[in-house]
């Protein structure tokens, strides 16, 4: 009875557009009520459990970092450097867009922050330079996908919390896939730029380039600081989020003086808000995981995979999980997919002998594609709104050129695990 009510309420909440986290909360509370379990369990799962999840502290801190970077216009400097270096190529702004996103990826762990912050600068510059809006938006969406694949990465932190895989190795595992995707996107941009005769920018004298790079140097050092700190053993991935936030605040307030105290306070409030709804969703997922485990739902799922013949090899299992995630990603929010589906699939993944770091990078990559795929592709909504381009044009461009490339990247990292595992193994990972 309790499980039926839980499923019905949760499905109704999901389908009817009520907030997912609140839906998890309502359905779980009703489950406890009908199962005659004390409500103190709600607080054990939704409050006390955070005490053993120090890694999750990185989530608000990386959100904070991304917001400071955007509000402090550090994104402008990153974009300016990339533009001076690559702008003179045919379709140069597209390469600038991709490279700036790769650099931004090394500072922030959020694709949405990339699209909403750096994306706004990139799209405006591309449209001013004569690129069509749909192309500018699509390149921005596709390049922003790299954000959470290259460390730091909020989805990888959440995955680490769910699976117990090491964040350090997950971060290392994301490097090559991130650069691989950047490379694939550059090839597409090269072909489209030649075909559509996109403009070349003015060649910048070397002295100007050097001056811009010097000015941007402190901003470009943020990813270096982060990586040196984590892999040099100075601080943990969680602490790295705090240190990088402190560094970008220092840059914005005192070096570049692009962020006033009033704006800084607004960033703080915005961070509190984002932390509230993202972390409450995580708290709801703790409760959901409890119900899922108590009702042995992963066993049912595993049996379902077995009866469909999807467990004959780990490659077929991975293929079916990838397809499942791609389909779900078209309709649902990525954090909801991650927090609801991954705990259900993890026992199957472990049974099939799939490496947890490999699986974590694959799912992160897959979920970032989900942010681009219609009808629920948040990046498309944001960029179309920023650039005042009709959404259907952005979607068409994405579906024709960029999403197939992203899926190609996903297939490569799925079936050639060394693309993910080579760097972690080099650092001592045994898996």
């Amino acid at each position: 009875m309790a499980i039926i009510v839980w499923i019905l309420v949760f499905a109704a909440v999901f389908a009817m557009g009520y907030p997912i986290a609140l839906g998890m909360f309502i359905s779980s509370a009703l489950y406890l009520l009908l199962s005659h379990i004390d409500f103190s369990l709600l607080m054990d799962m939704m409050v006390i459990k955070f005490e053993s999840m120090f890694i999750l502290l990185a989530v608000p801190l990386f959100i904070f970092t991304a917001k400071v970077i955007n509000a402090g216009k550090i994104t402008d400097r990153v974009f300016d450097s990339a533009q001076k270096a690559l702008g003179s190529l045919r379709g140069g702004f597209s390469y600038v867009n991709i490279v700036a996103s790769i650099i931004f990826a090394g500072m922030s762990g959020s694709e949405i922050a990339d699209v909403a912050g750096l994306g706004a600068v990139e799209i405006k510059a591309m449209k001013d330079a004569g690129y069509d809006g749909a192309f500018a938006c699509s390149v921005t969406c596709a390049s922003a996908t790299i954000g959470p694949i290259i460390p730091p990465s909020i989805p990888m932190i959440i995955y680490s919390m769910l699976s117990g895989a090491s964040v350090g190795y997950l971060f290392l595992g994301g490097f090559i896939p991130g650069f691989l995707l950047g490379g694939i996107l550059m090839v597409v941009v090269y072909i489209l730029s030649a075909k559509r005769n996109y403009p070349r920018g003015k060649k910048v004298p070397f002295r100007d380039l050097l001056r811009t790079l010097t000015k941007s140097f402190p901003a470009l050092m943020a990813p270096v600081l982060l990586l040196y700190g984590i892999y040099g053993g100075v601080f943990t991935p969680t602490e790295s989020a705090g240190v990088v936030a402190a560094y970008v605040i220092f840059l914005s307030l005192f070096v570049y003086r692009t962020l006033g105290l009033k704006e800084f306070y607004k960033v703080l409030i915005d961070t509190v808000l984002s932390t509230g709804y993202i972390s409450f969703l995580i708290a709801g997922a703790f409760m959901l995981s409890y119900v899922v485990a108590r009702e042995e739902i992963p066993v049912l799922i595993t049996n379902g995979f077995i009866s469909l013949g999807l467990t004959s090899s780990k490659w077929i299992t991975l293929l079916s999980i990838n397809i499942l995630f791609l389909i779900l990603g078209c309709f649902f929010d990525v954090s909801a997919i991650q927090l609801i589906i991954i705990p259900i699939l993890l026992p199957l993944v472990k049974t099939m002998g799939i490496d947890l770091v490999h699986f974590g990078v694959i799912t992160t990559f897959n979920l970032m594609i989900a942010l681009d795929t219609p009808p629920y592709g948040e990046t498309g909504f944001i960029t179309a709104a920023i650039s005042e381009t009709p959404l259907h044009e952005v979607v068409k461009e994405m579906l024709l050129y960029f999403i197939p490339c992203e899926i190609a990247g996903l297939v490569i990292i799925t079936y050639v695990p060394d693309f993910v595992l080579w760097l972690p193994r080099l650092a001592g990972y045994v898996g």
Binding site: M16, G23, L273, A283
Partner: protein, 172 residues
Amino acid sequence: MKNIKNISKKIFDLLEVHLAAVIFLILFFCIVIQVFSRYVFNSPLPPLFELSIYSFVWVIYLGAPLAKRYRKHIRFDILYRKLPKRVQLITEIAFDLLLNVVLLIISVPIIRYVAWSYKIKTSVLRIPWSYLLLCFPIFTVLLFIHNSVWIYYHIREFLGKRTPPSEVPPWQ
């Protein structure tokens, strides 16, 4: 009526906006000072470690009602957006009412749990557990109030009455 509205807005802002922002700053400084202390003085500070986690929990449970207040919680709204406005309002009212019922049902057990946990001390700071857990009853009260306000607005809208213009969010 206007005075009550202004005073209640100030109280909500004080808790969900200003207090939450201050607690977030505490969280942030705890992390930075910890790294500095360990790296420079080779002296880890366990109390700050514990304080940072408790601050995080408080920020979550002050931020979540704020997200409800400004309708920022993540939702799957593809189907919802296709529904007629009146059906949308009915579903919102129904689920908000259900949420309020749940909040009422859990209120007594969670307050009892918070009171009981006063006897237990945290491992490093040695402060009562209830100081950490208190954020949850506060969260339920705030959520209940915001929910009730939304129910009221939605019922007015459903009946074709004028609803007040939405307030400017404090982060804009």
